[in-house]
């Protein structure tokens, strides 16, 4: 390591945010990158551990100590090479990953972890700025054809890996643009969409064909693809949302998060909300967000930007401790009270709250009736309360992928949770030459997990097609 005592000598610094007042007036990213010098300094805090817990904590197993060291020695190009060797899209993870690596960082035991995510983002952004990111076009073609269905992070990673070893890759995407949740779920203020575009450019230049607006299983059948391709990868999302089956659920003004969020993203990118769809806007409304996860936060940030009167977030789980007992959590991802940037923009939060019913007038939502619950989620008598509500956004997670259409059509077996069944050794479904990766296989998860699965699945597909491993696992 460049500086063995860096962790003792150098104060932790991380990217800051623009002030709330400034950032909520638009949909731009508001994270302020560190200067190059500060980034280098922060990299020196890395202890180059004998057992780098970050490296294991990271789902794509980024070789974090190695690129930290390279950044410390100002060798950004090799840092980028190393980073790309494990992660196809560090610009995504460098922005929106919750960074389990940092939770696992040894420094997180007693101190503040190394600003790993910030350094990762700095490496890849520098790479793009310097023009180092070029298409890597395979020298030899294998003549094998693969179709990848779903252009989310798993599908994109898988496609890029496969095209680079010379297979012919076509990506089918039911939306008009690639990116999946990255594009339609994650608000622009967390990641601006040109970030995706420049990567899609590279993918196209490397030779991937994108077929947009085609919903496989609806517009064309799996059989059609089976006839055309030597392998098929199902890399759709886990899109079946968890519902709230309470009295008043059918009132107007109750929406799933994924009905609400994509509309705003499309507005920002001028894709426009399809004319048949009813616009959902939080402007001047009392918004209730049910669900305390990242999607809930995205709903909050978007609502605030739309000019909501108030935003309240309800979570059924009890409030987690402010500080975890690291001696029995580290290096795992700990359960603790976190405040997202969106939450800090002015949302109220309440925990241990169960919704009992929704009340309305004229078919429209007007309020929500709740009760406090104990740790076993049993209602606590006499704790009922009501809140005013004009818009209720359901962000309680996703149950499994949508079965109708492609999955039913593909006749692949499902696991007990309703996901497409395949293991992480070969990612093969029960159907011949059909593979699956990402949320469709593992259920809802992080972008970084999707990238991992896409990469590993590609390696398996390649092995299946060529009998050799030309791709890393």
């Amino acid at each position: 390591m460049g500086k063995p005592t860096g962790f003792m000598d150098i104060e932790k610094v991380d990217r800051g945010y623009k002030p709330v007042s400034e950032r909520i007036s638009n949909y731009k990213e508001f994270v302020i990158p560190l200067t190059k010098e500060e980034t280098i300094k922060q990299a020196a805090r890395c202890m180059d551990c004998g057992v780098p817990y970050c490296h294991n904590g990271c789902p794509v197993n980024n070789q974090i100590p190695d690129w930290n060291d390279l950044v410390y020695s100002d060798d950004w190009k090799n840092a980028l090479e190393n980073l790309h060797s494990t992660n196809n899209f560090p610009e995504f993870t460098g922005r929106i990953c919750p960074a389990p690596c940092e939770a696992a960082c040894t420094l997180n035991l007693y101190e503040e972890p190394v600003s790993i995510k910030t350094i990762e983002c700095a490496i890849i952004d520098k790479g793009f700025d310097e023009g180092w990111i070029k298409p890597k076009i395979a020298k030899n073609k294998t003549g094998k054809k693969v179709s990848v269905i779903g252009a989310g992070p798993a599908g994109l990673a898988c496609a890029q890996q496969l095209i680079r070893v010379g297979h012919e890759v076509t990506v089918y995407e039911k939306n008009n643009k690639a990116g999946g949740l990255l594009r339609y779920g994650i608000p622009d203020f967390k990641m601006e969409k040109h970030i995706i575009d420049r990567r899609i450019n590279q993918l196209e230049e490397e030779g991937i064909t994108f077929e947009y607006g085609i919903n496989v299983g609806v517009d064309i059948t799996i059989e059609d693809l089976e006839n055309k391709y030597d392998a098929i990868v199902l890399s759709g999302g886990s899109e079946h949302p968890r519902d709230l089956p309470v009295e008043g659920r059918d009132l107007d003004g109750i929406h799933f998060a994924m009905e609400f969020l994509p509309q705003q993203n499309k507005r920002v990118s001028n894709e426009g909300v399809p004319s048949k769809t009813k616009e959902i806007l939080a402007t001047n409304k009392n918004v209730i967000v049910i669900g305390g996860g990242d999607t809930g936060s995205d709903c909050i940030g978007t609502s605030i930007r739309q000019g909501a009167e108030s935003v309240t977030q309800l979570e059924i789980m009890p409030i987690p401790p402010e500080q975890e007992d690291k001696s029995v959590t580290w290096p795992n991802w700990p359960l603790k009270l976190r405040t997202s940037s969106s939450q800090s923009e002015g949302a109220l939060r309440d925990f241990s709250v169960m919704t009992q019913s929704v009340s309305g007038e004229n078919g429209k939502v007007t309020g929500i009736n709740c009760i406090k619950v104990d740790e076993k989620m049993k209602p606590i008598p006499k704790t009922e309360f009501s809140l005013k509500a004009d818009l209720i956004l359901l962000a309680m997670g996703f149950v499994h992928p949508i079965h109708e259409g492609m999955i039913e059509n593909s006749k692949t077996e499902l696991d007990e949770r309703g996901n497409v069944k395949a293991n992480t050794e070969d990612y093969k479904t029960s159907a011949n030459k059909i593979f699956t990766a990402g949320d469709m296989r593992r259920g809802q998860s992080l972008v970084v997990w999707a990238i991992r699965e896409g990469r590993q699945c590609a390696s398996s597909v390649d092995l299946f097609l060529t009998g050799k491993r030309n791709l890393p696992i």
Partner: protein
């Protein structure tokens, strides 16, 4: 050579399981008594026998108390006696006209007849007339029961000197040839007969009486009859007797291994013997001699039979040289040259003599005190290191008594002319024919001027620097990355290995041991080198310090044909190239490769491509072709073979360079051609120290790492490339020296081809074919798997995995990388263990244990391949878990490993101690003492006292008090992570507390030497055990060894040396800091060492009296069970309890930056330590419970029942792994039958024999002093068998009064005589020893406050200042106290002294080595290398010859004038007041010893003063100056 039959040593059991008789070691006491004037007498013989009896403590007895390890004496042919004895049956001519053969014949009529007949036939064939046979009467009633069955009949065969043998020398040669013929014939008829058959001697000058008898049984003692009746007859006369008392590691009657041999007896060990034997036998084609016809040569070939001991092999080679015409003294100098390479003060002609002979004969390297004779000359030689004691005295009537120690026989002191010692590399020689003693200087002068060596040298030798540079070689078309990949380079090779070498010229350091699978278990494609583990010296043999004792190390070598060893006239010329380092850079490599292009008829090279086409060739065939090519080239006159893999392409796969080198080397040996040409390997593969060592060890004369050098160039592209390459080569050289020195080898020349490696996981067939003579304990890969691995690595390199094209493999050996090598300790295991112990969750522990115990293709350890059987497999029933011995009993078998306070923080150290004390287990201090406050019980009843006190080579903090406060004392012979190496604690880590505990100075670095300077051999270890046992008789003595092939025999020796406990540590063991080479490539898994140890102890009947502990990488209950089944009673854990205490395997221990407060002394970081004793306790109970569940399944109620039950282990065939298909643990699971009454677990105590020793009397008489503080005076006689005098008394004092002891002189003891070894060891404060006489080695070792004065007997006429009074290694690890020696001391005076003060009148080499404190005054001559590694304390040397500047080691010390300050105040400021201090000390010296020299100096003090030089360690001075100036400042500020 055609016959593969191996010479079998009688008595030794055959190889079985992991036991192999080849590994047996011995060491011993030697002695010599002679009459310079060559006047034969019975007195000499009697004296010899008497000396033997008093050397008994240097020998050993095994399970049979009457069976010694063998002893004997070599004398002149006692003509008068023999003539008398045979006169009834035949007559013999006059002395010199006949030869006598002593012949051991198996004791049965059939064999007796057969052999006698055969010998008669051979004699007839060789045309030698037999005069007659004499049955030598032997008395066998006193022999032990174990010896009797193998006791031979001893015959003496009388042969007449044929007329055509003109001189007696010719006759001797003839007898030599005859003996070889007989030996070979006997070997031919029957192996079985050969085992009991042996010819101890066959000569017209000397005769040998030896046997497997105790020292006092050879010739009897007093009324007691001896084995050889002859020796009691007063007609048996000789003018010399060469004696030997053996201490061997085994307990088997091995008559032939008893010493002396035919020409010598040896105390020590030839480390390079494997290579020496090979080189010797390789000379066949290269040998021509006027003394031997070709026919003769064929008769005597092979010179050295396989399967003998090192000493016997040496004897064989020496015999060839002597019979070939060298005088025995010359031959000895050629075989064991002194360290000439780096000696700038050596005479030029002498240096040329050595250099001329260097290529003729590689040194027989290793510790050696050899007494030798051919009947004409007699003498003794000490090797270059002088690591064996050798003292002698000469009397006025021209008698010489030479021995390992003084005081063996009573001598009239008034008749002694002088007393001296043999110095390193020096020779004692008596020419019996001339009746004169020749001193070393004269001997050397004679050989130096015998011929114009320098001129002869120039005829033969070409210095590589003198060869003109030549054209550059071709460059590969491939990119550097591609080539690196082709040779399996990883990112870590650059990051962890090459970069540090470039930056510092030294090898990089790491910590926390290794936890990756050994090569044969790895799923990665491993370089061939990784299948070989470096061997290292432990116990039987000392490692060397290649840094502080660099003067004995040499890397130079000779490439090309070796001159004919028997060409005495020096007329033949053979051209070879001299190189200073075996690492060739590009320039030098090109010079050699292009030699053929120059018009040089003498010397030319042949380059042989060692790549192969994987598609249509296989390695084996290609190798055969390569060998034949080399053979053809040599036959065509080429004198250097260069094997090169530079021809690598995508299609052409390089053969592993080690495989190619070894194969070609061995092929050429077998063809008798190896000494006809040099062998160079040019390879892209070699990049780390270990690789180079392997190549050297298997025969490469020089290595050109062509790719590594390119990588270095690339890595240093932005800086000074030339410097980078220089540093790289320098680092490799240093690294090689370190590896050599671990085995006690000094010269590359003898390391080359010495095969100092153990193979692991390679098949016997493969080893026999390609690495003949290497041990491999676990069967495994053969040539096909190696080929597969080689090709797969090559294919991977060129396969271009997407995204990784521009990146080397991550490696993952040194730090975890998920795409790299697997580790046992990785995120999940560390996490689960920590969470388990903190939450006391057995479920989480189970998760942890399961992930480590899992047996699948991701194998981490050998035991991962074992299956543990169940009771049902033996048709028995399992036992209910409730009935199994309780966990709280099992945990008492657990100990935490040795981790020093210093390497880890007080918090971490005490945490382990408290935990272990609570559960009745044991914690270990590690090296570095313990704070005295920890000896007291804490308020809550806990105790921070470490139950085990470690004694390591640095002896830091080893006081009488420390030893008295222990339940077990552990002698650390080696450490798993760096066996054979010393250590260093950098100054910045030595804070005030650490310095207090270690009795050193804060801020000054501390060095632990590689060897214990009081353990150079097994009998030395026995002595240290004796010292420690005496100091604390209630403590068990433990010896810690590291697993390697042969550790079992060492352990057997340790058991015979009366250790109560032995630890077998695996190579995985942790460390604070160690060179990466050692962490990865030295030592073997504990499974192997443990099994070998257990088996060897059982086979030797030594098992029940010693506890066996397994240590190093134990992690789970299953590990404990496997270890118990393999034979362990107890279990040591280090890393796991450390992890339970919070360690997260940062592997930064050596940087002091441990972020969890464990391996650091940084006060801020220490605050972060959050381990609790409960965590450690929880861990051990989890482990014990897990073990219990296995016990219940196997049906064992008690733990003892389980120990050694290897039938419960089996190879798990279900585990699939391509490399392990051929793995076979049959040898590992071997279960030998125990001796009658011997259990296969520890069940009885050692008999230490300390009941009737001198100290018992001293203690008795000191009772008042100890209990009531009343001064006492005691006087007594003392003799050499009174050893460790003062130790037990000091232990008593320290137990009661602690380190502060008693008031000065409270116990005043006056003694008279010759003190045995370790006189005044650990002498406590308040005890004074006043000795009139002399003392042997280790006087005042660890002195803890007492005072010792020694002066010659009153009636002695010798001049004290010119004679030796104390032996070697005096004051080793001295803590505090005073010593006054009226005479000269041996080598290493005050080595590692911490604080004692001493005055001596002269000293040998390495005086004040590693000293960290104290004051040494030398009033006379000193030897070389004064003050090497001296970091503290001061010395005053009276430099009357004005040559001290040539003798001191300037690395760490500076010389000053005596500070002549007039201040009369005597303070503790060592920077000033020299005059006062010196005067005071010399006055004391005079007061206590009445030294004439002291008086003379005091009388002329002002005149002498300028002749004194003050020796001041540079670093120490700086720290003192800081200290005193800050004191001054604070004083001033108080005043102000």
């Amino acid at each position: 050579m055609s016959k593969k039959t191996k010479f079998k040593i009688a008595g030794l059991p055959k190889a079985q399981g992991l036991y192999n008789p080849v590994n047996e070691h011995d060491a011993c006491g030697v002695g010599l008594v002679l009459d310079i004037k060559n006047r034969p007498s019975f007195d000499i013989v009697e004296k010899g026998l008497a000396m033997l009896c008093n050397l008994e403590h240097r020998g050993a007895v095994g399970a049979d108390p009457k069976a010694g390890d063998g002893s004997g004496l070599l004398i002149q042919i006692p003509h008068k006696f023999l003539k008398k004895k045979v006169s009834d049956s035949f007559s013999i001519p006059k002395q010199g006209e006949y030869g006598v053969g002593v012949i051991f014949i198996p004791n049965n009529e059939n064999d007796e007849k057969k052999i006698k007949l055969l010998i008669e036939e051979v004699c007839l064939k060789e045309q030698i007339n037999i005069l007659g046979w004499r049955l030598c009467p032997t008395y066998t009633k006193e022999l032990g029961w174990s010896v009797l069955p193998s006791t031979p009949i001893v015959y003496q065969l009388f042969l007449e000197r044929p007329d055509n043998e003109k001189s007696q020398d010719d006759f001797e040669k003839k007898l030599y040839i005859l003996r070889r013929c007989i030996e070979k014939e006997v070997l031919e008829i029957s192996n079985q007969i050969q085992e009991g058959f042996y010819i101890p001697s066959l000569s017209s000058r000397t005769i040998l009486y030896k046997g497997m008898v105790l020292a006092d049984q050879v010739g009897g003692l007093g009324e007691k009859l001896g084995f050889y009746e002859d020796l009691t007859d007063s007609d048996i006369e000789s003018s010399f007797a060469l004696i030997h008392q053996r201490f061997s590691t085994n307990t088997f009657p091995t008559w032939s291994l008893a010493q002396p041999f035919r020409m010598l007896c040896h105390n020590g060990e030839i480390n390079t013997v494997r290579g020496n034997i090979n080189w010797m036998n390789a000379r066949h084609k290269n040998l021509a001699s006027p003394s031997f016809s070709e026919n003769d040569l064929n008769k005597i070939w092979p010179i050295i039979e396989e399967g003998q001991s090192d000493s016997a092999s040496f004897d064989n080679a020496l015999e060839l040289l002597v019979r070939g015409g060298y005088s025995i003294s010359e031959a000895m100098l050629i075989m064991i040259p002194e360290a000439w390479q780096n000696n700038d003060i050596m005479d030029k002609n002498l240096k040329s003599f050595y250099e001329y002979h260097a290529p003729i004969m590689e040194p027989w390297d290793g510790p050696a005190n050899i007494a030798f004779t051919d009947g004409k000359q007699i003498g003794a030689l000490l090797d270059r290191n002088g690591l064996r004691p050798a003292r002698y005295l000469i009397t006025e009537d021209d008698k010489v008594i030479f021995a390992s120690e003084m005081g063996l026989i009573p001598i009239d002191e008034s008749k002694v002319k002088s007393k001296w010692r043999l110095e390193p590399g020096k020779m004692l020689l008596i020419d019996l024919e001339k009746g004169a003693m020749i001193n070393d200087q004269e001997i050397k002068k004679n050989v130096a001027n015998k011929r114009p060596w320098e001129k002869l040298l120039k005829l033969n030798q070409l210095n590589i620097d003198d060869i003109p540079s030549s054209n550059e070689d071709f460059e590969s078309d491939y990119s550097l990355k591609e080539l690196q990949k082709a040779f399996g380079y990883t990112q870590e090779d650059e990051k962890f290995l090459i970069n540090p070498m470039i930056a510092s010229g030294m090898e990089a350091t790491g910590s926390m041991g290794t936890d990756t699978p050994i090569a044969p278990l790895s799923l990665k494609s491993k370089p061939m080198f990784t299948y070989f583990k470096q061997k290292f010296a432990q116990v039987t043999n000392p490692p060397i310090d290649p840094i502080r004792e660099e003067m004995v190390m040499a890397l130079n070598n000779y490439i090309g044909p070796r001159p004919n060893v028997l060409s005495l006239d020096q007329k033949e010329v053979s051209k070879f190239i001299k190189i200073d380092t075996p690492i060739l850079d590009e320039n030098n490599a090109n010079k050699i490769k292009n030699l053929s292009n120059n018009n040089n008829s003498f010397i030319s090279s042949e380059i042989i491509d060692i790549t192969f086409n994987a598609k249509d060739e296989n390695i084996e065939n290609v190798l055969t072709a390569i060998c034949e090519k080399a053979e053809r080239a040599i036959n065509n006159g080429k004198t250097i073979i260069v094997l090169s893999d530079k021809f690598v392409t995508e299609k052409k796969v390089p053969i592993p360079s080690l495989l190619a080198t070894s194969k070609v080397h061995q092929y050429l040996i077998n063809k008798g051609l190896r000494t006809s040409a040099g062998l160079i390997i040019e390879t892209g593969e070699a990049r780390e120290v270990h690789h180079f060592c392997c190549l050297a060890g298997y025969g490469a004369d020089a290595i050109h790492p062509w790719l590594a050098i390119k990588v270095v160039e690339n890595l240093s592209a932005n800086s000074d490339q030339k410097k980078a390459i220089e540093n790289f080569v320098k680092a490799l050289g240093k690294g090689i020296k370190k590896v050599m020195s671990k085995m006690g080898i000094c010269t590359y020349q003898s390391y080359c081809g010495a095969q100092i490696f153990d193979a692991i996981g390679l098949s016997t067939e493969f080893i026999d074919e390609f690495f003949t003579g290497t041990s491999s304990l676990v069967e495994g890969l053969g040539i096909e798997e190696i080929e597969k691995e080689t090709i797969s690595r090559h294919n991977d390199a060129f396969s271009k995995v997407s995204g990784l094209e521009n990146l080397l493999d991550v490696g993952g050996e040194y730090a975890v990388r998920l795409r790299g090598e697997k580790h046992s300790w990785e995120s999940d295991t560390v996490r689960d263990l920590q969470h388990a112990v903190r939450l006391n969750s057995s479920d989480t522990y189970k998760k942890y244990a399961d992930s480590l115990n899992v047996q699948n293709e991701k194998l981490m350890t050998l035991r991962g391949l074992f299956k543990i059987k169940k009771a049902e497999d033996f048709s028995k029933k399992p036992i209910a878990i409730e009935e199994v011995e309780e966990a709280k009993e099992i945990v008492k078998r657990f100990a935490t490993g040795a981790m020093s306070f210093g390497s880890i923080s007080r918090e971490a150290h005490t945490n382990l101690a408290i935990a272990m004390n609570r559960i009745g287990g044991r914690s270990n201090t590690g090296e570095g003492g313990e704070e005295a406050d920890r000896f007291l019980t804490m308020e809550n009843g806990d105790s921070m006292r470490s139950s085990i006190k470690q004694v390591a080579s640095g002896r830091f903090g080893v006081t009488a008090e420390y030893l008295a406060n222990s339940d077990m004392i552990q002698i650390k012979m080696a450490q798993g992570a760096k066996p054979g190496e010393g250590g260093q604690l950098p100054g910045h880590k030595v804070d005030q507390t650490i310095a207090n505990v270690r009795f050193s100075t804060p801020g000054v670095g501390l060095i632990s030497p590689p060897p214990h300077h009081d353990i150079y051999s097994i009998e030395d270890l026995a002595q240290l055990i004796y010292d420690l046992k005496n100091t604390n008789p209630s403590a068990d003595i433990s010896v810690k060894l590291v697993s390697e092939v042969g550790v079992g025999t060492v352990a057997a020796g340790v058991s015979k040396a009366k250790a109560d406990h032995v630890t077998i540590s695996g190579f995985e063991g942790g460390t604070g800091a160690s060179p990466l080479t050692s962490i990865k490539h030295a030592g073997s898994p504990w499974e192997l060492g443990l099994a070998e140890t257990h088996q060897t102890l059982v086979i030797n009947g030594l098992r029940s009296r010693i506890t066996v502990q397994a240590d190093g990488g134990l992690k789970t209950g299953r590990d404990v069970v496997v270890a118990a089944l393999l034979g362990a009673d107890e279990f040591g854990f280090s890393t796991a309890p450390l992890i339970a205490s919070g360690c997260i395997m940062m592997r930064k221990c050596h940087l002091n930056t441990c972020p969890v407060g464990i391996a650091t002394q940084d006060p801020e970081l220490r605050k972060l330590f959050n381990g609790q004793p409960e965590h450690v306790i929880n861990f051990f109970f989890f482990v014990a419970e897990e073990a219990r569940s296995y016990m219940s399944k196997m049906g064992f109620k008690t733990f003892d029942e389980m120990i050694g039950q290897t039938q419960f282990l089996d190879t798990d065939k279900a585990v699939k792994h391509w490399k392990t298909e051929g793995m076979d643990f049959e040898k590992l699971f071997y279960k030998p039958d125990p001796w009658d009454g011997d259990t296969i677990y520890r069940s009885e105590a050692q008999d230490h024999d300390i009941y009737e020793i001198l100290d018992r009397k001293l203690i008795k008489e000191s009772a008042e002093a100890i209990n009531e503080l009343k001064p006492v005076q005691i006087s007594s006689e003392i003799k050499n068998t009174d050893r460790s005098t003062g130790a037990m008394l000091s232990g008593e004092v320290a137990k009661i009064h602690g380190h502060k002891g008693l008031a000065e002189d409270t116990i005043n003891i006056k003694l008279k005589g010759t003190a045995g070894q370790s006189f005044g060891v650990f002498l406590a404060k308040g005890i004074s020893l006043d000795l009139e006489g002399e003392a042997n080695d280790y006087v005042g070792k660890g002195i803890s406050g007492g005072r010792i004065a020694i002066y010659p007997p009153k009636n002695s006429k010798i001049t004290p200042e010119e004679n030796i009074i104390v032996g070697n290694t005096v004051l080793y690890g001295g803590i505090t106290g005073e010593c006054y020696f009226n005479g000269i001391a041996g080598e290493r005076f005050a080595v590692r002294n911490s604080g004692a003060t001493a005055v001596v009148e002269g000293s040998g080499d390495h005086c004040c080595e590693y000293m960290t404190g104290g004051i040494i005054v030398v009033l006379g001559k000193v030897g070389r290398n004064f003050g090497a590694g001296m970091s503290g304390g001061i010395a005053y040397v009276l430099d009357e010859d004005n040559n001290f500047k040539d003798l001191y080691n300037s690395e760490m010390i500076e010389l000053e004038k005596i500070n002549n300050s007039d201040e009369k105040i005597f303070t503790d400021n060592l920077l000033i007041h020299d005059k006062e201090r010196l005067k005071n000390l010399i006055e004391n010296h005079h007061r206590y010893t009445n030294s004439p020299k002291a008086k003379r100096i005091l009388d002329n003090f002002e005149n002498y003063l300028p002749k004194f030089i003050k020796v001041m360690p540079t670093e120490y001075k700086r720290v003192l100056m800081d200290m005193y100036s800050s004191k001054e400042t604070s004083k001033n500020s108080v005043k102000g």
